[in-house]
Structure formats: C-alpha cells, structure tokens
Symmetry: C2
Subunit: 386 residues, 2 copies
C-alpha cells in the first residue's frame, strides 16, 4: 500500500543531510520516465512558498502533466524570496537531469522550517543517488523521506475494478490555525484526464484534508498531487472519485491520529445551521477554541464552552433552539443542562475518538470537522523550532 502500488510508478527516499539523521528526501517518478496526467491542489495561503509557485507554474505551462515529483523535508524553502524560487527550479532541473526528463515535467515540494535557504549542495549531491534508488519497492522509503514532526509514515491503498490507487502523506497537528504543512501524493494506473482529476481531487480534499485543516490549506507549502499512468485503462469515473475520497480520508485519519501531542480525535458535527457555510463557521470556531480543546484533553464534557464558541462565531444562534450530544447522549437542550447518564458520557469521553453533535435548530445547514484535543504534548513539540 504505497505510492508505487499502482502500475507505472517508482519511488525512493534517502538521507541527504538536511536533517541530522532521518530520511529527508523523496522522489516519485513514472516507471518509463514519460510524463503522465497530473492534478494538484495547493495552499490558499498568500504567503505561499517558492516550491508551490514552481509546481503550479509547471502544471499550468504543460497542461497538467508531470513525470516526477521531488520532495525534501526539514526545510520548507518558504520565506526565501527569489533565491528560493531559483532553488526550487534547480531541484526540478537536477531531478530531470538525473531521470532524463525535462525539468519542466518535474514537480517539487518542500516541508520543514520557514525562512532558511535550502542546503542546495546537499540536495543536489543527493538527487542523482536518489534517482538511482528508484524502484517499485521504494514507496515506504519515499513515505519516510517526506516526514517532519510526524511520528509515523502514512500510506493508503484502494483497489478498484481494474485500477489501483495508492498514496502517502505527511502532516500532523493540522487543525487550523496550526499550519503545519500537509503534503499528499497519490498515484493511479487508471486513465483519467488532468481536468477530471483536478475536479475529483479538489472535491475529495474539501471533504477530507480540509475538514482537518478547517479553513482550507493554510500552511505556506500545503500540496496534494495525483498522477495517473493510464496503464490500466479507463475506470468508472464515479468509482474512481470514490477511491480518491477513500484514500484521502484514510490519510486524513492517519494525520489526525499522529497530531502533535494529540490524545483524542473529535468528530464534531454541527447541524441545523442556517446554511452549510454557517455550520462550517460554527464547527471551526468550536474546534479551534482552546478552552474546548483543553476540555477534550481533560475528558470533560463541558457543553457550555461549545455553545459559547458557537454563540460568538458571528452566525445565527439561539440558545433556546440548540442541543448538544456527546456520543449520541443528549447533555444540553434549549441552552440548558438536560438530565443524562453522566458516567456514560464520561466513559465516551475516555475513548480515543469522541463524537459530538451541536444542533442549532435553525435550518438544514450541516458540517463536520475533525477536532484534536490540546494537551501538554502539543506545547512540548511546538515551543522550540530550533
């Protein structure tokens, strides 16, 4: 189950010396080095990094095709200005040269610290070696090469009727406004056009990665790329879209479970909002509230904080019409406490995955986000960056 599970792709990972010891580069390429249909979804952050600019420009210039993706971790090549863009393009050129493909057909991603120039000597020295290691067995090495503060590799696979879709991702501690970079790379042997894949990938991202990183891709470097070798022919497009969704969902949960300092995942559903948009705003307001997140860490079913977060979110809200449940057990109705089995709620709160519904009672708008608790582990990992 990896980025090389689909027919037509090879991959590799290595230690280039950007990080002290761990793998810090990855390369994914087509087996025959021919460019194939490609689609990508990039960060919406206006402080986007040079590799994002380079990859976006390449896909626009060649009509959505790519033969390879070169990735480094440990340094985001963000906040690096024009020299950073030159470095990103040099990475594409170096990978292209090592692979015998045009640099214009190579996409590039970086993740890690912001504001420090890439150690290009190490990256350029490692690239030919990385190309030599490419194999259909290299998926796991590549999945290691893209990690930063992640604790585990993240890979996923779906086998459809006549096609395979595999992928890998990095990222954790994702809930906005955290902005840890999220990268995901998917490959398939189905024959799907760049336009079709762009639409499918955008929709799947909105329903999966973006429910974790609620207000869309907010990091400087967030990128999701899907390559299609076409070797297995035309798929049923609905089945293919569902496969993309399932792989993205699987990777999303792997990221949530790996969040920095995370002890609990919360499936937070807001229903009965005046619109889906208002439901999303409320869900985001609740899931990002530090008092709420701390109460999740403490296993404390404190519904008052949820309603206070909804009430200050700037959306239509009437406490009298609201209801809150934990694990399907109603704890509040009409803005006040309702009698409930306290031990059953606390028991649900002790699970790793908590289900919470905030019903606003105003309309039919709904939204779901994946929330993560806030515990001491988060601070331990984020207090120092250097």
């Amino acid at each position: 189950m990896s980025v090389t599970s689909a027919d037509g792709f090879v991959a590799a990972g290595c230690h280039a010396g950007i990080k002290r010891r761990r793998f810090d580069m990855a390369l994914v390429a087509t087996e025959d080095r021919e460019p194939v249909a490609a689609a990508a979804v990039f960060t919406r952050n206006k402080f986007f990094a040079p590799p994002v600019a380079a990859s976006r420009q390449r896909l626009e210039a060649n009509g959505g095709r790519a033969a390879a993706i070169i990735v480094n971790s440990g340094n985001a090549n963000a906040g690096t200005g024009a020299p950073g863009l030159a470095d990103a393009e040099a990475m594409c050129a170096a990978a292209g040269e090592a692979l015998g493909v045009a640099g214009a057909d190579v996409l590039v991603c970086s993740t890690g610290i912001i504001g420090t120039p890439l150690p290009m000597d190490r990256i350029l020295a490692a690239t030919p070696k990385l190309a030599k290691k490419l194999s259909t067995e290299g998926g796991s090495d590549a999945a290691r090469g893209i990690l930063t503060t992640d604790h585990r590799q993240k890979q996923a696979l779906v086998r459809g009727s006549g096609f395979t879709l595999g992928g890998m991702a990095k990222g954790c501690g994702m809930i906005a406004p955290n902005m840890a970079t999220m990268l995901a790379f998917l490959t398939t042997d189905a024959d799907v056009s760049s336009e079709e894949m762009t639409r499918i990938l955008r929709d799947a991202s909105d329903r999966t990665f973006n429910t974790l990183n609620v207000d869309g891709a907010t990091s400087t470097n967030d990128t999701v790329i899907l390559l299609a070798s076409g070797r297995r022919g035309r798929p049923d497009l609905a089945e293919f879209a569902e496969a993309v969704h399932r792989v993205c969902e699987d990777l999303t949960f792997q990221m949530a479970r790996d969040a920095e300092g995370m002890t609990r995942i919360v499936m937070l559903r807001v229903t009965g909002a005046a619109s889906d948009q208002e439901a999303r705003i409320a869900a985001k307001s609740i899931a990002e509230n530090n008092l709420v997140k701390c109460s999740w860490y403490g296993g404390d079913p404190y519904w008052g904080r949820l309603l206070a977060a909804a009430g200050s979110a700037g959306i239509a809200f009437e406490a009298e019409r609201s209801a809150v449940s934990y694990g399907g057990i109603a704890v509040s109705r009409g803005g006040t406490n309702v009698a409930h089995d306290d031990e059953a709620v606390r028991s649900h709160m002790r699970e790793e995955r908590i289900e919470i519904e905030v019903a606003l009672g105003l309309g039919s708008g709904s939204a779901q986000v994946i929330g993560i608790d806030l515990g001491p582990g988060y601070i331990k990992e984020n207090a120092k960056t250097s």
Copy 2:
C-alpha cells in the same frame, strides 16, 4: 485604589459557599442608597447569560441608573435558561431588600462554571450579611469576591482634577477564543450622564479590554459597569474620558499578567494594512495562532509563523512588501530573512513583555493587540473544570 476610592460608594465581599473556601460574592452600592448614573458594556456573545439579560433590561428600563451591583463568582448562571433569569432577578431583589432600594435599581453579574443552577439558598442567605458589611473600606474584599481562576486581585485608580475614578476587575487567560469571563466595575464621583459614560466606556473598552479579547467580548457573561455618584461635580469631559481609558488600560494589563499559564505578554502591532479593519483581522489571526503562541512561550523569534498567519487571514497580503521586527530589531523584510543581531532578538524574547511589529507595506491601516504565550500552565488550568 479601589471601587470605593471615589466619593459616594461602599463595597463588601464575602464567602457565601458557592466556592469551597474563597470569597465568592461582592456588593457595590452607593453610600446613600440612591440610584446614580450608570453605564455598561456587555458581551456580544449570542449565548449570553441570564444576569447579562437582567442587567441590560434594568438599565434600559430605568434610563441608565443604578444603586448597587451584586456579583457572585464560582457559577456563571449561564446555560440556565428561564430559571436562571429568575435567579438573576431574585439576586437583584434580595440585594434591593437588604439595601432598602428597588430591585429594579440593582445590577447583577455572575462568573464561573456554565450550565449549573446557582445555589440560590446560599446566595440569598449571604446577601443580607454582605449588605451589612458594606463600607468605604470594603473595596479589596469586593475585588476578592469577584475572582475565579485569577491569581490576584485587580484594582486601579486615577485621580483627576477634582474627581476620582477607581475600579476593579476579574479575568485572565482572556485572548479570544478563550472566553474566560471578564468583569470590570468602575466608580467615580464625577458628575457625568449615563449617555456620556456609555460612549466613553465603549470607546475605552474597545481600546483596552477588547485588545486583549480581540474580537470583542466573547464570553457568555462579560460585563463592564461604570457608576457615577456626581458628588464632586462636573469634570472636564476629555480628562474624564482619559481617566476611564487609563483605569481600563491598567486593569487590562493586570488581567494579561494574570493569564492562565502566561509567561510572556506580547504587544503585537500590525501596520501598513489596507485598512484598520484588515490590521485587526491580521493581528487577531497572529495572536490566536497556537504555533505562534507556542513560539512565544519558547522564546523563539520565528517570524515565518507570523507571516504565514497573516497570509492565511483572508486580508490583502504580499510577502514582498512585508517586514517583521522583534523589539525594534528587523528580522524579516520582503518575506525573507534579513541579517540581524540574533542574540539581541533572543534577549528581547526572554523578557516578560515582547514587542512585535508586522508591517504589511500596503496602506495605512494599523491595530495593536495584547497577545499571551501558550505554555503548559494554560493546559494544566483548563483541562479539568470540575
């Protein structure tokens, strides 16, 4: 320096038994029990608590006058519905009876946990005793009676030409989206109308309390009240407004310094935004970002996170025009690192009060917010509420 420093006011605090041991009630009243001009600023949260509804209704009904304010801590009387409103009104009635004034001339505030009915037996039993304790020396006791997770009393005083303005407050860990309740009570012996005071108090709150709790009063119970006995006659209104601002500012800093788990205060200034409104949005986005807050705790001058927060705030942003400085030392310009004295920046970051400016280079909009770092102490205090 207290709520009884101005001529014409008495106060008291006591332990009613809402909390286990500490003072949990406070009463402020006019010395002669006559209603005086009053002004208030309330939370904008749509999930506002019954005492907010009761106090607002009273001020509207009697044209901005009040003879007393009764306060309890330990229980916010929020999420308590119609019975909660009846309880809030019963508190006013009980205080009025004990003082010999109409219950309609008594304002009420509560702060503490949400969703649990007030222990009215204890509150009603304590109220007459509290009224008997009222004295011009009772300011400090009252300041103790309104505290919740605060570590210290917060009082302030300004003496103007011919008038005195004193006050007390509670609240900490305030930066939105925290929503710990903020209460502040100011008294003066100047002769100022309710309308004048309302305007002055709203303006002062926006420039002080609301720079801490960035998007306005977001808790269920936030309330600021100003009473004027008028005993010292008409003040210079500009001087009076400045005095109100200074007392609010003093109390704001006392709250910031007392924030749950706080180790550093950050004066974060955003300049050069397309508008003041966009500057406020950017400042809020930066000050609420957990990665940024953790970097403040760690004393790590990581400007990339500040720009990434600004870049994803939904405002006009061009990295090429931006500049970031810590303690007046430029660390980034044009979205990239600039050579600087690293030790000087790190030394500034070790201070308790850090100055950061994010210049967007786009217009003349500016805003300042008071940020607080995120450290383990915050989680320790917020993981459990019961």
